[in-house]
């Protein structure tokens, strides 16, 4: 997993992990060991992805300035050409890696801080009544959702990859919604909103609503700025609203976890692409 040798390192591993996680939560009776195994896979993948980005962040400048032909090919006749070609392709990959660093932007880190507050608060509330295993399972599933959200951002700089990821996540989200359609009843939404429990700070859903409001505010801020992608912003806001409503309606369950993983993974694409500027393509026509 390095940008020296690959265009999008770890992309297929990420897609495979998302697919396996969603299908496992939807169709398999998951025990604690299964969730622990998935958490280890996600944690290992996140660590590897972090190392990839760190390598690229630390060595990009030294790599870009280094214009010496590599010693490995000095004795060959095609040393210069080979080395130049290799460096050009690797340079393009490194450039992609620089764009991937947007997943470590301040607004994303602040989103994660809010999410950690939500996790800590939910654990604090449920500690007296829930067993230790259930608490650890909850933490693992929340971390999986966060890892899917973060890693999705690190690939969403590319339009081609974004379309691929959006297709996968949309399919998984629709599958989760179809599986959960019996639990999706709007009748449960009215009491949740009408009893003003969301204003109560003791309700963990309050922090989740704050998280959704923060996400919406970030997207609206991008909308105010010039030359931003309006379509991505509006779809992102609609997705945040959908996820928040589903979270309030649905009871915590394995199927709901699959919905969160696919939903927040899909949202990560719009979250990162909302700040991409529209490119104006200038084409030179040569008249004969």
């Amino acid at each position: 997993m390095s940008y020296y040798s690959s265009k999008h390192p770890g992309l297929f591993l990420y897609m495979a992990l998302v697919t396996i996680s969603v299908f496992s939560f939807l169709f398999i009776d998951m025990g604690s060991a299964h969730i622990g195994f998935l958490a280890i896979l996600w944690g290992t993948y996140t660590a590897l992805r972090t190392l990839t980005l760190y390598e690229m962040s630390e060595h990009y400048e030294a790599y870009a300035k280094n214009d010496v032909v590599s010693k490995n090919h000095n004795g060959q006749a095609s040393a210069l050409a080979y080395d130049l070609m290799h460096r050009m392709s690797a340079g393009r990959n490194m450039k992609r890696g620089m764009l991937a660093l947007y997943c470590l932007h301040d607004r994303t880190i602040l989103w994660f801080v809010l999410a950690l507050f939500y996790t800590a608060f939910q654990l604090h509330i449920s500690t007296p009544v829930v067993s230790k295993v259930a608490l650890m399972e909850t933490m693992c599933t929340l971390f999986m959702i966060g890892a899917a959200f973060w890693a999705g951002q690190s690939y969403a700089y590319s339009a081609k990859i974004s379309r691929m990821l959006a297709g996968l996540f949309t399919a998984l989200l629709c599958l989760s919604l179809v599986t959960l359609h019996s639990g999706l009843s709007l009748n449960a939404l009215y009491p949740a909103l009408s009893d003003t429990s969301l204003i109560d700070i003791g309700n963990p859903n309050t922090i989740l609503v704050l998280l959704a409001l923060y996400s919406t505010a970030i997207l609206l801020f991008a909308l105010v700025q010039k030359n931003r992608s309006t379509g991505n912003i509006l779809v992102g806001i609609a997705l945040v609203v959908l996820l928040t409503v589903c979270h309030i309606i649905l009871e915590p369950s394995r199927e709901a976890t699959a919905l969160w993983i696919s939903g927040w993974g899909l949202f990560s694409i719009f979250w990162i692409r909302a700040y991409g500027t529209r490119e104006k393509k200038y084409v030179l026509y040569q008249c004969e």
Partner: protein, 111 residues
Amino acid sequence: MRFAEPHHSRRGAFLFVALFSCLQITLGFFLINGNGHDSVLSDAMIHAPYYAEAEIMDENTFDPNAIEPAAGDYDVTENQATQHPEDDPDIITQKLIKSLTTLSTLDSGAL
């Protein structure tokens, strides 16, 4: 669509994500190894035989009449000898005689 290149990413952000992944891996190992069992439940399961034994062996609180076997249950007092045949003195004597006979036969053969 294009993005402007970020100048530098902070090391704190990398550290944040690295800690996040390490915590996730640790929790996963805990769940797989089964160390996350509910401590209250496991303590109760461990101490349950101990408390039961202490209650029975306590002469002040133990009441044998309180335990009445139901119809068809195994009667412990009647069949205790047949349950443990090694405790019967006749059988022990027979075994002792048999072993002594075997020993004498071996000695005579050796001589």
